[in-house]
């Protein structure tokens, strides 16, 4: 909880500043949008968090989003698949990608950075090849399916505000993810491996399986993200969609307390990290800052975030060590 506090405060501060300078920030409409996008980015960030906790990295998720996001409308609209078989297909594809990464990393002992960098190049290439770079969309059809991404649900007590459906999806996934991470053997193993793979192996853990599972989860959630992004924007340009999303997701995870060294991370933190990234981009518009400076500002805020985090952590560690010393000597 403590780890999450810093970033939560940062999020609140950004919200307050923006709200003060523009009252529309807290309008139901704007909040709905921010929440919907936070949910989409949150979902892919949860996936990447699993991989980061296992001590790996996944640079390919932007391209997985691209591949899945292009394939879905492509097979539905151009190839006439049924919704079920289309969803089945894209799930299979994303899971297969994760499996592929996991196998190369565990069995061939390739570096995650390198494997997923190649993935980044390959999957987008495949998407572009299949679609011939043509923009894919659902036209005006598939309203039911699109409800998953753009639907909203009335809340009983709050006037005007409706909850975007992706938020519920994200919430469900986040709860499951948090449960897995904190309460199950899998989560325990994942953290152990991220911290010390050899120790985990010597304890009889089948580390390869756990690591592969992490990559599968990551790619699968990227696939879910790809589906939702496609349904949301209804217009997927294979060349452009998802570019750099891996970096946003990693940034969200790191902001949320995942250590790139592995072994550490909380799902709540990751969601807050993703929210901070989205709120920032929203705030930049709300505050009337030119688009050009958007990324510079996001970069600076992340940097400030991790620097403060580091300083606070150092301080906390020193205090804790001191207390510990007292305890043992006492």
């Amino acid at each position: 909880m403590k780890k999450v506090l810093g970033i939560l405060i940062l999020l609140i501060v950004v919200c307050i500043i923006t709200a003060i300078s523009n009252e529309n920030f807290f309008s139901a409409y704007n909040m709905q949008n921010v929440i919907r996008l936070t949910s989409l980015f949150g979902i892919i960030s949860i996936g990447v968090a699993f991989v980061i906790i296992s001590g790996g990295i996944d640079l390919s998720i932007g391209s997985v989003i691209c591949l899945v996001g292009s394939l879905l409308p492509f097979v539905l609209v151009e190839k006439g698949f049924s919704i079920t078989s289309a969803l089945l297909l894209v799930s299979t594809v994303s899971i297969a990608i994760g499996l592929f990464h996991g196998l190369l990393i565990t069995k061939l002992k390739l570096q995650p950075f390198v494997v997923t960098l190649c993935g980044l190049l390959i999957y987008r290439g495949i998407a572009r090849g299949i679609t011939q770079d043509e923009t894919q969309g659902f036209g005006t059809a598939y309203a039911g399916l699109r409800y998953l991404a753009i639907g909203k649900i009335d809340l009983p007590f709050i006037e005007g505000f409706k909850l975007p459906v992706p938020f519920l999806i994200m919430l469900g996934l986040a709860l499951i993810a948090a449960f897995f991470l904190n309460k199950t053997i899998f989560g325990r193993y994942l953290k152990a491996i991220g911290n010390n793979e050899v120790a985990a192996r010597y304890s009889g853990i089948k580390t390869d399986r756990v690591v592969i599972m992490a990559y599968v989860i990551c790619s699968f959630l990227a696939g879910v993200g790809g589906v939702l992004f496609a349904l949301d924007i209804n217009s997927v340009q294979p060349e452009g969609i998802g570019n750099f999303y891996e970096l946003y997701a990693i940034a969200a995870a790191v902001l949320g307390g995942c250590s790139i060294r592995g072994g550490e991370g909380s799902i709540l933190g990751v969601i807050i990290g993703a929210a901070l990234m989205r709120v920032l981009r929203n705030s930049i518009t709300m505050l009337g800052i030119p688009s050009q400076l958007e990324f510079a500002i996001i970069g600076v805020v992340i940097l400030i975030g991790v620097i403060t985090d580091e300083l606070v952590k150092n301080y906390a560690q020193k205090r804790r060590a001191l207390q510990q010393a007292k305890q043992t000597s006492g």
Partner: protein
């Protein structure tokens, strides 16, 4: 190249990026290739100028017989264009480079098209109001010209395509306020988010102008989502299906369309003729202008049908297609640099 041996020429059509717009152009180019028995290579550089340069040089290395290019940054690309002219045949399309040794230009005037777009805004908001612009990148010359055209039209300024309003300043006169231009770097989710953020921020927003093909549909999504279909008008650029449907439904005021299919077709036709030593294809003006057209509710069905037939089965429509535009008149207008919007409007209608 295999083409070389059987005496077939090989020409290339180089775009400024990747977009469905260019896919239409590609169809046109390929159709011309078929009709005229010439090999066509279409190249779409995904990453801007550096990529474009590399692709062009690779084409030159292959001994290409002619290149029709949409230069991303004509002023600074003069050397590359010179290189093409020296080693092959150079024409420009979509975006011109008048100071280069290009033999001819196929396309329209983006500044002028921008002004046409501005006219649509005026039609949408006769009383005036707040307007937002959305576009992928401002680094691209055509985007800048379009944007400037819209602004100048709304500000009732003179016709001057060298003007440039800094993107971070609000431009306004007593009627229209152009609040901002938001960029998305071809990141579609962000393009939609930009539209949503604008709706959230400006409660008095009256009109959204999407300057790249994918922008208007995403603006429309955002407006629908916000339940503001009656309050915020969308003015569109290019012929995305959703934009056209929007015009049919009355949710989009209108769109300014180019004719990418013809850019493709004409480019290949001219390159092929030039490669075979036929100089007569080049008009005196050195420009084959395929002017932008304004599509409104009254002519959208007709236009859409035409578009569908082009894309659906180009074999049949090949004949119908060249609704040849007599370009000379419009070229003159163009050089006059006059801001006669109503006249241009008539002219575009006459094109139909």
């Amino acid at each position: 190249n295999q083409g070389k041996e059987d005496g077939k020429k090989t020409v290339s059509f180089v775009t400024n990026g990747i977009a469905s717009f260019w896919v239409i152009a590609q169809k046109g180019a390929e159709k011309a290739g078929e009709d005229l028995d010439v090999n066509v290579e279409v190249r779409m550089p995904p990453q801007g100028v550096a990529d474009q340069k590399r692709m062009v040089q690779e084409l030159l290395a292959q001994g290409i017989d002619g290149i029709a290019i949409s230069p991303i940054d004509p002023d600074n690309q003069s050397e590359l264009l010179q290189e093409v002219a020296d080693n092959s045949i150079l024409i420009t399309q979509d975006s011109d480079a008048p100071n280069s040794p290009r033999l001819c230009y196929v396309g329209m005037d983006n500044y002028k098209a921008g002004r046409m777009c501005g006219e649509l805004v005026k039609e949408a908001l006769p009383e005036g109001g707040e307007v937002m612009l959305f576009v992928g990148r401002l680094g691209q010359a055509n985007a800048r010209h379009r944007r400037q055209g819209v602004i100048d039209e709304l500000m009732d300024r003179s016709y001057d395509n060298t003007r440039y309003d800094e993107p971070d300043k609000v431009v306004k006169n007593d009627k229209y306020t152009i609040l901002d231009t938001r960029l998305d770097d071809f990141d579609f989710p962000q393009a939609k988010a930009n539209a949503q953020d604008a709706i959230a921020k400006y409660s008095n927003l009256k009109c959204m102008v999407g300057l790249f093909a994918y922008n208007p549909p995403l603006c429309l999504e955002a407006i629908k989502d916000a339940g503001k279909l009656n309050q915020i008008k969308v003015v569109s650029f290019d012929e995305d299906e959703i934009s056209l449907q929007g015009i049919v439904d009355g949710t989009v005021v209108g769109t300014v369309v180019q004719n990418p299919y013809r850019y493709g077709y004409e480019s290949v036709r001219i390159l092929n003729a030039l490669a075979n030593g036929d100089q007569s294809v080049i008009p005196e003006s050195k420009a084959i202008l395929i002017p932008a057209r304004t599509i409104r509710k009254d002519n959208v069905k007709e236009f859409w049908a035409e578009l569908k037939s082009i894309l659906g089965d180009s074999n049949q429509t090949g004949e119908k297609l060249p609704k040849t535009t007599k370009t000379n008149s419009s070229t003159k207008k163009n050089t006059e640099k006059k801001n006669e919007s109503t006249e241009k409007q008539k002219e575009t209608k006459a094109d139909e």
